[in-house]
Amino acid sequence: MKRLSIIFALVALLAISLAPVIAQEEVTLRIMSYSAEQQEFYDAAVQEFTAETGINVVWETLSRDAYEETLPRMFDDGSAPDIFFWLGANRVLTVSELIDAGWIQPLDASVLPDDWMSRWDDGIFVEGINIIDGDIYSFPFNDNKIWGAGYMYINNLVWADAGLGEDDIPATWSDLTSVCETVRESGPYCVAIPLEGTHFQRTWYPLAGVNYTDNFFDYQLGRYNMDDLRHLETFEYIQSLYADDLVIPGVNGRDETRAAMAFGEAAIYFGGAWMPSVFANTYEFTDVTAAPAPTPDDGLSGALAQTNSENKYFISSTSEHATEATQFIEWMTRPDGYFAQNFLELGFGTLAYADNGAYITDPVMLQVVDIAMNQRPNMRVQYPEPAIECPAVASSQAFVNAENIRRNWEWEEMVLALTTGADFEPIAQEIAAAKNEEFLATIEAEGISPDCFAFPDWDLTTNFDPAMYSMGD
């Protein structure tokens, strides 16, 4: 018995000592992103993946601000996750930026099916954007037609209390002012506009995008365009809403304005395709209608920019599990897989590699899809990419230098003019002049032609035809 006990103890000791060795062989992938309200879904998704592949995955989420501050520090101290979500400063050239920063490594193509890239539309995988020197570094996650800024959301309860119905949804700026006056007479403010930081963009993009472009750079003319009369007209219109006391006053944050709309302090909030999910998950508010942004009185004369900008998930350069991480990405991007189906069913957004109409069930999200695909198909149009026209643009510092004159210059000055009621035109001209000067000086020093950034044969409101690239001709 004594001998048996000794043997048992030895076996137990051996098992304990071997356990870490065995455990070390198990791979646990770490994924990080924001959108903490989607954590439950991510937990379920990784369980599904583990059940299928035996690879453990931990998916962590933080609030956006915390995430954007934490992730760079994780790269500094070597604790970065295997897969991470990131929106670059220049969304189209995020891959180049992250390679420069030393943050990313390519996907392991050996574990990807041969037809993997066919899950996306043609022309999505482009050298210089998501392929560098033949290696795939990322893939478009959200689709770039439906997904993005540009929608108007209406609180149905406030709308009804003001005596307004479906027929009163404003189609033009004059209509918007008119219904806003009606809403204001009933008590609540009409529009909730965030002004803190750069959040004014949430209102600016939809309204600028129906009049001209949501960009501060005109790719038709190849110049910074804050001084363009169409931008000034859009700004003056928004300023008039403030002057008429139709907007919730003060400099409010993004979350404050969203909450103000969800809790009935305002009737309208302009936001992106993600808002149905945010309203439902953050504020438990679903009595909302999505509508296209009202146009100028003489009709739609602009479009939002549709660019190859949805390359958001990356394998970190510090990951020792690039193969397993690529396996996860392959699993995640199956058009009819668990991830795609549930992501769409839960209304978290639209995907670049799935049939969005097939799985979305959320009624507000369906309205969003309908707006982008049917009601206003040219709401967002394919933009030209200067890096395709002139590959040297991929490493150009022209945009960076122009932005560095003063970060967030346009937003800060627009907010200032909205809070003071000041004339914006002189400062708009100053911004455009300073940025154009720096931009042209930089590309001249880099030996890049201004023509690389100008596409004069394209009119900003229709899809750019790749045949228009002169490719140095």
């Binding site: 790269f75 500094d76 003060g250 400099v251 409010n252 800060e412 200032l416």
Partner: protein, 325 residues
């Protein structure tokens, strides 16, 4: 009366001088005072401090200066040496100078409001006739333990155009239209200054109380015999005696105020426009917030600003010595 007080102060200074005129340990060379194992013990006791000091003060300081000579985003190799280019760019950066100006305004106004008020409170709370002293001290000190982010949030709700203060002011007819105190360029900075004063007031009150308690009671007794009233005692006894400490408190307050960051981040994020941009927030934005990160550039801004703080600290030493004489 003032003669008696002056004599009393003079005799105290004379006594201090006589003590300091005795031969002290500092006059004996170190090599004669310390020998053999003493050096080992000194090294052993100094080591923990030195390691921490070098690791967390000297190294970051030197590293920041080194980074400031590079074009660097905070990650990856530090291999793009650009010499003084970041400093040249900073010198031409209107946002930096605006934030610099705002920071100085913040520090000066904050100090100008905070110190007299906290001194007044300290004087009142050190009077014998004052009731409930402990309760008052707690009341004034309490805001200090509230996290800055929470204070920012509370004041954000209180002072925005739909907040409680505007409700009261418009209901009473004092204001025709609500004012977003933190969202109006003309009022945002002063509002942040006042919130900061509210929060830090208790700390400076405690400093003043400590200084006041060090004024010898005998000076007040002598002044009373001389027929001085409370006002005379304040001007002729209290303020002259606490002058060296007051100088330290003044500079402490100024240097601490130069480092303002949390309240700006929690309330206005530098806005509206750039009306509340301060240097720390500028550095933070450049290094960690606005992509692409400009760690080298932010380091140059930090070094320039650090020099300003250093000048303030050096001036503090000079003025303290002058006040002591």
């Amino acid at each position: 009366m003032s003669e008696i007080v002056a004599e009393t102060i003079a005799s105290k200074e004379l006594a201090d001088d006589s003590i300091s005129s005795k031969k002290t340990k500092q006059d004996i060379p170190l090599s004669k005072r310390v020998s053999g194992w003493d050096y080992a013990w000194i090294a052993a006791f100094l080591a923990p401090f030195l390691i921490l000091y070098v690791s967390f003060t000297i190294y970051p300081l030197v590293a920041t200066v080194w980074y400031s000579f590079h074009e660097w985003n905070g990650s990856g190799a530090l291999d793009e040496f650009i010499g003084l280019q970041n400093y040249i760019d900073i010198a031409q950066d209107s946002s930096f100078w605006l934030s610099f100006n705002n920071t100085i305004v913040f520090a000066v106004v904050n100090t100008a409001i905070k110190l007299p008020l906290s001194l007044l409170a300290a004087i009142i709370l050190t009077q014998r006739w004052m009731w409930f002293k402990r309760i008052w001290r707690t009341v004034f000190f309490a805001p200090l333990v509230i996290p800055v982010a929470l204070a920012g949030l509370v004041f954000d709700f209180l002072l925005n155009s739909r907040g409680a203060l505007n409700d009261v002011l418009t209901t009473w007819g004092i204001l025709e239209r609500p004012i977003d105190f933190l969202g109006t360029p003309d009022t945002a900075l002063i509002t942040i200054i006042l919130i900061s004063v509210w929060q830090i007031f208790g700390q400076y009150m405690i400093y003043w109380m400590a200084a006041l308690q060090n004024v010898p009671e005998s000076l007040y007794e002598a002044a009373s015999i001389d027929g001085a009233n409370e006002w005379d005692k304040l001007w002729q006894v209290t303020l002259p005696v606490i002058r060296p400490v007051a100088t330290i408190i003044l500079f402490l307050s100024f240097v601490n105020a130069l480092k303002v960051f949390g309240l700006v981040a929690a309330t206005t994020e530098g806005g509206p426009g750039q009306s509340t941009y301060v240097v720390s927030y500028f550095i933070y934005n450049q290094a960690f917030r606005d992509m692409p990160f400009r760690y080298g550039y932010a380091s140059a801004a930090a070094v320039l600003f650090g020099v300003t703080v250093l000048i303030a600290i050096t001036l503090q030493g000079y003025f303290v010595r002058r006040a002591q004489h």
